[in-house]
Subunit: 309 residues, 2 copies
């Protein structure tokens, strides 16, 4: 009989489920669509069925120790999901309470911000093993982050610490998904990169760019990467500019926390040096001399698909 934990990662489109053994190995994966119908009770029923099904079909007898949930705007203190902009469930959802009703046999059901969950994963199973002070940025549809100080994840006074994607890079800059202006997320998320590509095509009238035949709703960060690989000037400049913005934000984080390293996680980081090099250069240019050449920027060692675990 094997002891396992269940990890749930709630994204705007899909909810991933992973079963993890005590060594941190993902032994089964599943998932359901994150619905747009806004009916939280129905979603909890579907999620419960999917978890029970995944556990019972694993091919061996499993003892589930607990469930860990990562969710946008997840609050560790209250077990709630609060006003998540990318989910159809409105207001404050008492997620842990609703899940406990469906798994009365489990003592441990915990929820946190999705980026915090990835940060804990990096600390236990990834590149941050043994690090006591580090930060993780997750770049995707949005930009999340998790902060570790003295070996503990920082939750802050009300459980919402680590929203570094919403630091301000450009006063009165681009409108962010949250409604404010000039936030890092509006520049360094995957949609932020797309916005930069469209700005650049407009600036240069770049009819010959490999990106010039894609609509605003078609273009994604993978296409920008492929175009950069093919030598497209617009795509290459998108990475330069995104790195410049991101480095400015990372320097702000360094000045707050003096971390040993900052990990980058998520789709846009697959571009490797295209994004890491300008990010590092920009971060260094914004730093106090006491921090120069001290802080590592590292790719996450987590498998993107396994971050929930």
């Amino acid at each position: 009989m094997k002891k396992v934990s269940v990890g749930v990662d709630i994204g705007g489109t899909n909810t991933a489920i992973g079963i993890v053994d005590e060594a941190g190995k993902v032994i089964a994966k599943g998932g359901i669509e994150t619905p747009s119908h806004g009916d939280i009770e129905k979603y909890m029923d579907d999620l419960t069925a999917a978890i029970r099904n995944l556990v019972s079909s694993a091919g061996e007898i499993l003892t589930v120790l607990g469930i860990g949930v990562g969710a946008p705007n997840g609050n560790y203190y209250n077990g709630t999901i609060e006003y998540a902009p990318n989910l159809s469930f409105q207001g404050i959802i008492p997620f842990v309470e609703l899940l406990k009703k469906r798994f009365p046999e489990l003592d441990i059901i915990a929820l946190t911000n999705d980026a915090n969950a990835a940060t804990i994963g990096e600390m236990i199973y990834g590149g941050a093993k043994g690090m006591k002070n580090f930060v993780m940025y997750t770049l995707g549809t949005g930009v999340g982050s998790g902060i570790v100080v003295n070996g503990d994840l920082v939750y802050g006074h009300d459980g919402f610490a680590g929203e570094c994607g919403h630091t301000t890079l450009i006063p009165d800059g681009r409108t962010c998904g949250c409604g404010a202006k000039g936030h890092l997320e509006a520049y360094c998320s995957a949609p932020g990169m797309k916005r930069t590509a469209f700005e650049l095509m407009a600036r240069y009238n770049a009819t010959d760019s490999l990106l010039a035949n894609k609509s605003f709703n078609e273009l994604d960060s993978k296409m920008i990467f492929d175009a950069a690989e093919a030598g497209d000037k617009i795509a290459l400049e998108v990475f330069e500019i995104t790195g410049k913005y991101l480095g400015q934000g990372l320097a702000d984080t360094v000045h707050h926390l003096s971390p040993e390293a900052i990990f980058l996680f998520g789709g846009p980081t697959a571009a490797g040096d295209y994004i890491f090099k300008p990010t590092k250069e920009s971060m260094e240019a914004h730093l106090l001399p006491i921090f120069t050449d001290k802080i590592k920027i590292l790719p996450s060692e987590l498998d993107s698909g396994d971050a929930a675990s």
Copy 2:
């Protein structure tokens, strides 16, 4: 026989010394000039003599438990002062080691960043009593900060955490004392306010401003406050703009740390609502909705002159 601690606050111009009893009361104050001669051994001798003199002339028999030092670029882990831009001592100064040689009878000699020392003071004796997660900004010649998470001061990986004065507000903005561009300190320190006043006088050709007869080297933040009190438009706008900048920076801090409160300490904060009101408005405008109207901005309850203690 009374048990006391000695606090030393090393500023660019003066070194303040305070003797503090176990209740946190400052029972004697003294000080020496922080020299410009760059001779650290001579300074340590003078400082030692001043401390011993203050202790022996206190009018009662004192047992000194330890010495706590706050210094710009002070490193708690190493007991060093490293490359402090406003001090004449060059490179890395092994301050605690040099002081221990002169006070071999003391077990406890500790050094930290001056803003961190003020933050600890706020936590033990000031308005942050009982708070587990808060941040303090010290506004003066420079802008320092101290961060408390779960009741502990954050030092970070290398002991230099809490340099929030060097977050970037304006990409490619004003040159900061540290050499980088657009840092908060270049806008929200006392000299930063002066720079704003001169920018505004230049913009409006403000020959009728109460500040228009002061040279760049004469004008200070107290004069700007007095002019604001007299209704001077330039002075009033300086506070509006300084608050706008500071609020942007405080929002970045909130997004990192989700503190219960942010304390403001130092000369410019004596202007009360002139600075607190626009700061609060600007911070709120830059925040994620989950933080709206949650984070207090409070004046420090420490006496400026006693921050060393």
